[in-house]
Structures are given as structure tokens and as C-alpha cells.
């Protein structure tokens, strides 16, 4: 039981070594997602008859409890509704689609379903922008970065602000 006592004392001992305080990857990714919406303009057609902002997640959800925080937030003055579409017909109702790495193997198929639709597509899947996705998230030295496929966004009728393009590590225009 001496050992248990030693364990109990540890937090105090350990807190001195405060190197590398950091945030959970999923929570950071979600915060990025929320920020992307602030720099994106959807065409009027995307809002027709819609009172909520439809945030869709495809595949295994990496966000965890961070998602709860979206409940009392809005995008373009509309409350956020999180859904996990399971069919192509549900997918086209989204305003933003997040493609989880677990769906990486079928990315092209998903992107084909939403091509030229006013749906902001975001993913951390490799080559996501190369395949026609709009924003790819990636990590560089433990920090979050992103790149943009501007052509795909334009084809979907979305307008991305110049501020967003400035912060992007790379912008594909063609």
C-alpha cells in the first residue's frame, strides 16, 4: 500500500514539469471547422427552406465531447445541427461535410456525391484536396495547418474569404 501512497503524491511532483501543455487533436480540428464557416459564404440556394446549419460527419468521429460545445453556437445566425448522414440523399443536405480518416479509402466516391454542390468539404485524409476536396487539414511540428482547393470551392458556388486563403499553407487554384 506504500506504493499507492506514492502514486497519490505524484500529481504534485509531476506538475512541476509543465513542458508541452497542449490540446486534444480532435478538439482543435473541430475548432478549425467552426472557424472555417466564418470565412465561407454559401450561396442563397443553400439556405432555401433551411433554418439550421447542417454539419455532417462521415465516419468515425474524432471530436468527442468537444461537439457538445457547438450546441449553443451559430453559423450565419443559424443554430448548428450535427448529423451523420448514411445515404447519398442525406449527404446533399449538408452545409459542411467532415470526412473522417476512417473513410479515406472511399473519399473519391464521397466527393463525387457532393461535387459542384454548395457543401464545404473538410478532411485530414491524405490527398483530399488533390481528389477534389475543398480543405485538407494536416499537422506540422505538432501544429494544425490546412490547404485549400479553391477551384473545388468555386465549382460548388462557395466563396472563401481572402483571409482564409492567406492563412492556408497552400492554395490549389487550378
Amino acid at each position: 500500500m506504500l506504493l499507492l501512497a506514492a502514486l497519490a503524491v505524484w500529481p504534485a511532483a509531476g506538475s512541476g514539469s509543465g513542458d508541452g501543455q497542449s490540446a486534444d487533436q480532435g478538439a482543435v480540428q473541430l475548432a478549425f471547422l467552426y472557424n472555417f464557416t466564418k470565412f465561407t459564404e454559401w450561396p442563397e440556394s443553400a439556405w432555401a427552406g433551411r433554418s439550421e446549419f447542417e454539419l455532417c460527419i462521415l465516419g468515425e468521429d474524432p471530436f468527442g465531447p468537444a461537439l457538445d460545445d457547438l450546441h449553443n453556437r451559430t453559423v450565419k445566425d443559424r443554430p448548428i445541427h450535427v448529423s451523420r448522414p448514411r445515404s447519398a440523399s442525406a449527404l446533399v443536405k449538408c452545409h459542411l461535410v467532415y470526412v473522417s480518416p476512417s473513410e479515406g479509402w472511399r473519399t473519391r466516391q464521397i466527393l463525387q456525391e457532393i461535387a459542384r454542390a454548395p457543401i464545404l468539404s473538410v478532411s485530414a485524409v491524405d490527398e483530399f484536396t488533390g481528389q477534389g476536396g475543398m480543405i485538407r487539414q494536416f499537422w506540422e511540428n505538432g501544429r494544425a495547418r490546412f490547404e485549400i482547393n479553391l477551384k473545388a470551392a468555386r465549382e460548388g458556388g462557395l466563396t472563401l474569404s481572402s483571409k482564409l486563403l492567406e492563412l492556408a499553407s497552400r492554395v490549389l487554384r487550378e
Binding site: D19, G20, P65, D68, S83, A88, R106, Q109, G142
Partner: protein
Amino acid sequence: MRPAPAHRFVPPRRTGLASWTLWACVLLPAAPLPGAAAELSEMNLEQLMNVEITSAGKKSQKLSGVAAAVHVITQEDIRRSGATSIPEALRLAPGIQVARIDANKWAISARGFNGRFANKLLVLMDGRSVYTPTYAGVYWEVQDTVLEDVDRIEVIRGPGATVWGANAVNGVINIITKQADKTQGGEVSVGGGAPQRIFGSARYGFRLGDNTQARVYVKGFDHDRYRIRDRSDSRGSDAWNQQRGGFRIDHDSRDGEVATLQGDWYSGNLQQDLELAQLAAPYTSHLHDQVNVAGANLLGRWRKALELGNEVSLQAYYDHTVRNEGFLAERRDTFDLELQHRLTVGERQDLNWGLGYRYTRDHFGNTDFVQMGSGERGFHLFSGYLQDEISLIPDELRLTLGTKLEHNDFTGFEVQPSLRLAWTPNSHHALWAAVSRAVRTPSRADDSAQTHLLVLPPLSGPNPTGFPIAISPTHNRGLRAETLLGFELGYRFLPGSSLSLDAAAYYNDYDRLRTITAGPIFLRRSGNGLYVDQTLPFSNIESARSYGAELAVVWNPMPDWSLHAQYSYIAIDTAFSGPRFGSNLELDKISPPQQQWSLRSSWDLPEHLELDLWLRYVDRIQAGIPQPVRIDDYLTLDARLGWRPHPALDLSLVGQNLLDGAHPEFLMESGYQQRTLVEVPRGFYLKLNWRF
């Protein structure tokens, strides 16, 4: 040193006391908890781009809405545990009883019914069943791979037969290796110590094309003997060694099609000390046995996404195993084919169905100790399943119902339905309940084996006759499948990203369990003499009820410190509907450890050091046939000190079973007597891991 981030995000610290208070308030509605998210989404993009991401190994907890008692052992868990084999790594899961019989054998089960021949736990490696139909159980000593290449081990306690099929009665273990694209480059591990004298593995991963990656590996070890209680037996040994190699190729078309081809080969030599009954004086034979094991397998899997929510997969494998033991020689070839299809129906339903076929052919070389009847037989298994997941309330209430229908050559058709309900009102709480039926189908040994458990010498002790009396468990062609009706309840609580709790409780009702009953007595001839043969046919006269609970808590008090606490409780009662033989057959009732708990601390220290401590307690048990032996409860400690002097180099020093010189954990149910009881000694090793 890493550059200091411009903005350092500090998650709110919760004191231990506050966390315990949180647990006490589980019935209160989840208030919005102060957490990472609230502060993060207040930040603008520039600020976010300066937040440092937690290292991948320390992923924060997510709430699982799965309606089953699932525990996932991650690669990081395995690495930090110091485990050097898959069985040892399974100690990381709550409610799993892992008992080491000797240096090269384990008894592993969930929710009771443990033994070397534990037959109610189904185990798969990358989708390939390693449950042997010979005696119904797993030869754990030959289930291995490069541990660094294991992605995760999914441990499901409770019946999983609706999807996995027969013998997934008390649990399913899925050992899943990484995809080849996650193991690119080289990785070499070498280590040595005592009683593991030397071990090493080398893996190299490379690209085969734009969308195709591959890896190859070799692994080997040489393990010293443990301490055998009978000191007079100086030649007795359970030392062993094994060599293996393999490959895996993964192709990802990036267009909704993935394919995998993998294979392994192994061979090894293990020594064992057996105490076997024989008909001639001195009626028992002490065998110093040299066992040769070998095997190879090849598996192919193809998965195609037809459209969103609609995918099909096809898997085929071939498996070859050889075992030459002193009491039986065995060769087995298995071919398995499986088709699965998942599709969504409307907005509310996920439909899963599948078809399977398996053919297994065995070849036995009988000995004086065990006879398997006809030396060579083949068996067919046909199976199909249908499962529907219905969202009663989207993202909140989910009902899963389905059934498996199988046809096997021993008992014909078997139906294994289940009904599961999961309620996830928010991302902090999940509640689930399940009712399921599962069966354990007879093994080849149940059907055909003939052996003498014990031979009582003439005119001695309980034998007043002038002939030796053989006590002979006897096969039964008419044996039926053992059945389970299981009721489960589970609760998961995730107050924040740094604390999670997972609890499960169950009530299991078993019927038609296999045991031995007093059968007819014969006077038989053996060699020049006569003996009395008391046959004990296998029969389905035992029933049992068990209940218990398992609890697992993960707490990260600080980003660089995590604690894992686990507890499990089980109670079993058995009843017999016919004449059983002897009083010792209440083994199922007296053998499980009533309580098990563990506490594991993983601490990241400055200067790239890691300190891990793992304390485990296992209650007393009784084990062994014909006369169960009491095995005391034990408390033990493993410790690991890791050091990463260079990003590509890891050194670790591990001490195992540190709290005593040696302790026994189990006694095998046959072929072993008290004399051959083996104690698991204190051990240590030093390991070097280099990546390039």
C-alpha cells in the same frame, strides 16, 4: 527541446477529489463542463494555428455508444505495459482472466470457465480464427506477431455470437495489426533478460506502387524455464523458443476499394512436464515432453464501397497447423470464406448480412495416452447472419437486432440471436443493454477422444479390487451444444476528455454444459493384463448461472500522466441434472477468481523518460483435475522505465512480477498434477527499439 508555442493552451486541471465528486453525481444531468472545446472555439484561426496538438499516443477519451462490453487495448497501452506477448497484453483488459500455466502456456477467459482448454472465448487475428476445433480453445503460445505492428486488440466480453458465430460465448478477442502504410520503414527490436533470455524482431515496410504498401517481418525468442515446484525433478523444463516471419500487403485504390494480402509462418519447440495415467505399473508416467509446433497461414481480404452506406467485403484464408505432443500428434488444415454486406435502408436502418463457409480437416497420430478414434476427418461449417441497426431516435437511441444461423457437422443447425439497445442522450453518458444467445459447439475431442484421466493401482486406497481401475473420460457422439442466454447492462461516463468510466454487469444462464457423468464399467484387456474401465462419458448435464460486473476507469490528471484502474467481480453457481462423477466437478464454480483489480500508471518524465507501474491483484482460485488444487491470491507489480535518447531510438528496462520470488497462477486441467505445478518467477529484461 520543442519551441515554446506562442499560445499555450492549458486544459483545466481537476483535482482528484473533484473527479470523485463528479462520479458521485452521475445521476445529475450533465452540465456543460469546462473543457477544451469551449475555449478553443473562442479562438481565431491564427491562435488555433499556434496550439500544440497532444501527441498521438495520448488521445483523449471518446464516448463509445457500442451496446457491448468492449475494451480496446491500444498500441500505446501494449508498449507501455512492457508485455512481450499477446497473452500478457490481454491483462490490460478489464474482466479478462489471464493465468500463466507455465512458461509456454496460458489459460485465458472472460467471465469464468477458464482453463488451458477454455472453450468459450473466440479469438481472431486479422479476421482469421485461431480457435482450434480440436479441443475448442486457443493455443495461445503460437499466437504471436511483432507487437509494435499491432494496431489494437479489441476485447469484447459477453456473447458475440450473432456476428462472430459459435463459441463466441463469453467473449471475442480481435487482434488487429496495422495497415502496411502505417508501418513504412524499418523497425528493429532486440532484448534480453531472465527468464526471457533473448528476443528480437525486425520489420521493414516499403512501397510497392502508388497505392500499395507492404511489410515483411521476422521474429524470434528463446525463453528459459520457470520454476517447477517439484525440486527433485531436475530435468523438468518448460523452456521454449519460437521463430516466425510474415508479410502484409495493402492496396488502397483511393476510389472505394481496398485489398489486403497477408501471411505468416512459424515454428517452435516447447518443453513440458506431464503427469499422465498409464495402465501398467506404476500407473502413472512422468513425461519430459518436447513439443514441436509449426504453422502457416495466408489471408486475402477485399472491400468495396458501392455507395455511401453500402459496402461489401470478401475474405478468404487458409491455415495450416502442426503440433507433435507426447500424448497426441496433430495436423490441421482449414479453409475459410466469408462474405459481408452492409447497406443502409432509408434514413434509419443499417443492415448487415453475411455468409460463411469453413472446411477443416484434421489428422491425428494416436498414442497410448489419447486416442482420437478415426485418425483423419473433415468438417464443414455453413453460416449466415443478418443484423439490423435501427435508429429509434437519431444519434440517441439505437436498437440492434439480429441472428446468426449456422450448420455444423456435430449438432446441425444452431441459432444465435441477440437484441441490443444503446442510449446516448449526450456525449457524456451512454447506457446500453443486451440479451443474447450463444452456443459452444462440440469439439473434435468431445466427439472422439478417449483417454485415462487416472489409473488407480490394484489393492490400494480407494481401489479394493485386484485390477487397476482406469478413470476414463469418454467421447460422446451425441453431445449437444452448450447454450448461454446472457443478459447485460452497461454504462459509460465521460465527464471530460481527461476522465472516463466504463462499467458493465451481466447475468449469464448456461445450460447443457459439457461435463462427465458416471458411465458403464467394463473389464478390459490391456497387453497381458485386465483392468476395470470406469467410463465417464461427456454429457450435457451441467447448468450454471453466473453474475458479475467489470469496471474500467481512465484518468489523465495531467497531460503527461495517465492512470488506468480496473476491477471485476464474478460469482458462479452450478447444478447437475444427472449423476455426475465425483465432487470435484464443481470446478466451474470454484475456479474463477472472484475479484481481480489492477492499477496502472503511465508517467512521462522530463528528459524523454517514461515510468510505468502496473499493480495487479488476482483472487484465489482452484484449478486442476481430478483433484483441484488451491492457488492463492496474488498481488504483483510490473515496472517499466523507458528512455528515448533519440527520436528513432527507445530503450526500456522492464521488471515483471516484482512483489514475490515466484507464484503459481494456474494448474492445467489435465496432464498436470500438483507435482508439476509451475510458479511464475520474477523477471526482467532490457530492450532496444530502433526505427529507420
